[in-house]
């Protein structure tokens, strides 16, 4: 009984930390941006900040299960949804920044850019997939989906690959940062080598059948 209590306390503390670490920067960002305290081009700043923030949070989310396994601390898995939802929030704001502040609601330009620019197309696909995961993260839906829930949420591996490519293609010349992120992504996926191999095989087998 005592053990159980401390674990739930640990989770509570961890969740509080995540809320603070993820929400406060976002709040601070928009406070500065609305008051023109974010450098000469606040639009670019908010786009880059939320983009890289979403990527960071995705990677942190994918770090949870290998760490939990390594440390034999199963309860850690319980913060994955919160982290994932924050990743979604950052990605959502990233898109909103682009549409509202950069393109200033020029819808035709928006659709043109999404269709014509491979890096934006890929980013958009990643966002739609991430939205699907966010929507299906609600407990009642999760329960209804049964086994197919896990299958759907394996898409997170694909998302993080798409986001890597999106970042890599978006820069003008500074490849160091995108390459570093591709490296991190590869490491995190390497932990799941067997699972991903099985997933790919099952897709392949289903198709040929």
């Amino acid at each position: 009984m005592g053990d159980k209590l401390t674990t739930s306390h640990k989770i509570l503390v961890l969740k509080c930390v995540i809320h603070l670490a993820a929400f406060l920067p976002l709040f601070n960002l928009y406070y500065l941006a609305f008051n023109d305290l974010l450098g000469a081009d606040p639009v670019q700043s908010v786009i880059h900040f939320t983009g890289i923030g979403a990527f960071n949070l995705l990677l942190v989310t994918l770090t949870v299960s290998p760490v939990a396994k390594q440390l034999k601390q199963g309860y850690l898995l319980q913060v994955r949804r919160l982290l994932g939802l924050y990743a979604f929030t950052y990605a959502f704001m990233h898109l909103i920044n682009f549409l509202v502040f950069d393109l200033q609601l020029a819808w035709s330009l928006f659709f043109n850019e999404v269709l014509k620019r491979p890096y934006i197309t890929i980013g958009m696909i990643a966002f739609i997939l991430l939205t699907t995961l966010a929507v299906t993260s609600v407990n009642s839906i999760k329960r209804k989906m049964g086994k197919s829930w896990q299958r759907l949420h394996n898409v997170s591996y694909l998302i993080v690959i798409l986001v890597s490519v999106h970042f890599y293609w978006s820069v003008k010349s500074e490849l160091m940062a995108p390459l570093f992120y591709i490296m991190l992504t590869s490491v995190l996926l390497a932990f799941r080598y067997k699972k991903i191999k099985a997933l790919i095989l099952s897709v392949f087998v289903n198709k040929t059948r």
Binding site: A21, N28, L29, D36, L37, V43, F101, S170, S173, Y181
Partner: protein, 335 residues
Amino acid sequence: MLIKIPKSYDLKESDVTPEDVYLNRRDLLKGMGFLGAGALLATASASAKADWFSKEETAKFKTTPLKYTPDANTDKLILTPESKVISHNNFYEFGAKKNQPAELSQGFKVNPWQLTISGECDKPLTLDYDDLFKMFPLEEHYRKLRCVEAWSMVVPWIGFSLADLLKKVAPNSSAKYLVFETLHDPKQMPGQANRHLGGGIAYPYVEGLRLDEAMNPLTLMSVGLYGKTLPPQNGAPIRLVVPWKYGFKSIKSIVSIKLVSRKPRTTWQKLAPSEYGFYANVNPNHDHPRWSQASERRITSGGLFSRNRIETLPFNGYGEEVADMYKGMNLRKHY
């Protein structure tokens, strides 16, 4: 006699991080996206005062007031505030992020300076620091600056026309193009010493113009802005301003202009020839392969909501003065 056998963990001289890199380590880390979500706070507030990590402000570079003929602003252009003109810069020699040049260039030495004009001309010339401001009468010109990244500014440049300088050196009949070069001094320019910081482009930075483009009255050699000498982040002590071309053509901190007979290969062209051409004329009908050039965001004062997205004009609105030079050329091919 002491024989020192180095242990595997002993540091060699070459392992010591240079002081400037060490002092900027947090920028480096941030630049690489190394820090977690919590530390993102620091990146966001880099330009606000909340950045408690940054080291003490280094002494600001000193600019001095200039004597010049003011621009009458008959076009009624709205200037980009000075604070933004001098804090939002693409000058990879001082860091590839927009805020880095203003932060990492304040110790830059511009005096003494030598600008050499040589090559296919009868009277090669070297200008010293004082010559930059005294050889020609200085004029102020409000000019639009359109970056290839689809943002723009309006800047009150001060300078003289490149044509006046070229007349002095008397180009000969083989002179068809000009090659410009930025100072190469990795000790002063951290981006040249460190690939992470410098965005991985080749140094020294090289740009070029066709002779007739260089002789166009719009082509300015700028030595100042907002009434004073240039700060380093804007290309002190002397830079080029070609307002109908994308900003990367307007090379900064120039030490050499060479007249040549063949079209030079320029820095961005070498890096990505399909994305950046030699001419780089502002052209809303020819998109960058990865983003649209049809419109731009004009950087003015105000926060997130006060930004203006405006249509991009052919030749950045300077077609009347420059379009003739490109008659009969396919500008989609010669982008």
